[in-house]
Symmetry: C2
Amino acid sequence: MSVLPLAARATGLVGSVIDSSTSLLASQTHDIVRFAMGSPAAEAVPSAVLAEIAATALGAAAADAYGYAATEGDPPLREALLKVLEGTSDATTADRLMITAGGMQGLDLGFKMFVDPGDLVIVESPTYTNGSSTALSYQAELLEAPLDDDGLIVEQLPDLVAQAGRTPKVIYTIPTFQNPSGTTMSLRRRQLLVELANRWGSVIIDDDPYGLLRFEGGPVPSLREVAAGDPLVFSVRTFSKIIAPGLRVGWVDADPGLQQLMINAKQAMDTCTNLPAQRLVAEFLGSGALAGHLAGLRDEYRHRKHAMQQALSDHLGDIAHWTDPQGGFFLWVTLTNGVDTQQLFETALAEGVAYIPGPAFSASGRFHDALRLCFASTTPERTDLGVRRLRRAIDRGAAGQ
Amino acid sequence: MSVLPLAARATGLVGSVIDSSTSLLASQTHDIVRFAMGSPAAEAVPSAVLAEIAATALGAAAADAYGYAATEGDPPLREALLKVLEGTSDATTADRLMITAGGMQGLDLGFKMFVDPGDLVIVESPTYTNGSSTALSYQAELLEAPLDDDGLIVEQLPDLVAQAGRTPKVIYTIPTFQNPSGTTMSLRRRQLLVELANRWGSVIIDDDPYGLLRFEGGPVPSLREVAAGDPLVFSVRTFSKIIAPGLRVGWVDADPGLQQLMINAKQAMDTCTNLPAQRLVAEFLGSGALAGHLAGLRDEYRHRKHAMQQALSDHLGDIAHWTDPQGGFFLWVTLTNGVDTQQLFETALAEGVAYIPGPAFSASGRFHDALRLCFASTTPERTDLGVRRLRRAIDRGAAGQ
């Protein structure tokens, strides 16, 4: 039997704590309150509307819905999307637009185009693990930069870069309702980030799956808008959180000079994005249903966030603090009583509650005192139940049981 | 305005002559007989059946069809596929199976896992450009190895490798109804290839999108079967040619030891394959419709291949020779009168016929005397018309017009 000659890069294809947490979670058969995954609530997916659209858009008269799509995206979807984005901070033009297989493929495209082995990539700490994994799969060296309530502490980057002794090739940020912290980068910091990236010749990979789910506070301009057309901002967006994740449809908004390169790269990844789902999304956008759908989601998620914060106050107020997101899906909870959230995970599952432990969001395994909770996918009643179970688990953990 | 710091790898993200040919093709407004793309005939896609399935599988009662899928594939599709493959040379087990976004993503997975910058990859010459492009996107060095009527001339590989001064990390082959030549690797050569790969410690990426479309001759065992469980064979398969390309659903059959690594890698590519299309394929397979569908395709494609060979005899017999595929989509035509098929392309479009010029299938731009014709997507009447137009174009080319 041969020993397979794995690439050195294969060591970068890391499984994360998220994977092991979720596979452990999948094996559980008892009732569990699921705060772990970053999925929209099942009832938040407009599946009845999509089903109705499928009947026509994928119906017998739509024989062309199953062929190869243009690599840059199916024209009806591209047109509908441009129209929907008009007037938002993500408004864009056809020559900058690339349809992708969800936001994840947008990240893969970006890191593939900009990262050579050994290149320095700044990531937020904590950050979205599959994002930093993609950078690692191209053998980037990660530099973890801290966050506070106003997002990435951009003011600290010059010192970090000076310590590293070299400038970053890419700065990977989730500026709005950050995953996992829920924080949003202030306008001042966005301006400074664009300034620094320009000085260093770095690309900003701006990953924003949640921006349209703002339910409180005033809007902050996108990095693209702040950069005023400077090509260094590579924006990654997705329909996963606002319509449905299983469709695997997202988009990249990037400098027109990158368009052909992105087409070449995507052809060598998956040829094109699946066409039936592009047709479903195009029809959904074209029908005008998105605005009302988003308004409904915002109301519901605001309600659910407050329910989670209330539950946290009620049951964890003496041993934890947490962030206050103005949109998106996630709260970041920090325990102050010394319990290790990774060690706690199995106890929590046994008590009937799931979350993602903090170290899953750091390639160097920081944040053993923290955990991510998704408030979007559980009802207020379930949320309260889940947080009560979490408290029981923490108490058992603190008692060393 | 910044100058973007593209990765060195970006030079490997090559656009191929296929791209420029097809974009030129897309801009044509007059009637063109299209022998260029490797798409199934529109009438070969079971869109009415898929539409019927969509009504239930994606219907209002199927709310879970829009969520994230398991990264290794949706269980109903995995089960249906294992059943369909039983008794074929591609029969496999769940621990070897990975659902992908078409065959293209299977190739991306394989090259990503095995190729480091500078590694030697043997490719057939001519070969499928998007396959070799994927290898280039990981900065492989390609070694082009010639084909004859029995596929890759495996007997020549030891000499080529000796000349290269090092052994290949990967051998990329399309052993059955090869793209673009239409040839099939003989059993003897398959055995020798496995032997050589084993000696060199190389992985064989076995790309076989057409194997189920054999319409003549006897079956040849798959490389996986020849290798008898040796983990060096990494098999890439797809539903694109046998059901519908736009679904972007395919699979990889590889050593169980690679399963977790493939899951990690795919999570950093696109999280999971789109779920609605997986459900459509699962239902299609589960309904038992595939066998009859394939039988119909084989009959039709046999008929169409003979029609093309007849048209070539009638109109190009004095200035060309061509291959005789026993399945799949493609014929490879070699001109003997010195006309350059790449230079000829625009004239051919003006005459109303499209093909892919030979140099598109070679990273080093060989095969200026050759072209690929897809016989699968045109009716016999259109095929005859197209080949007559091709003759007129070649005559104009020969006359230097």
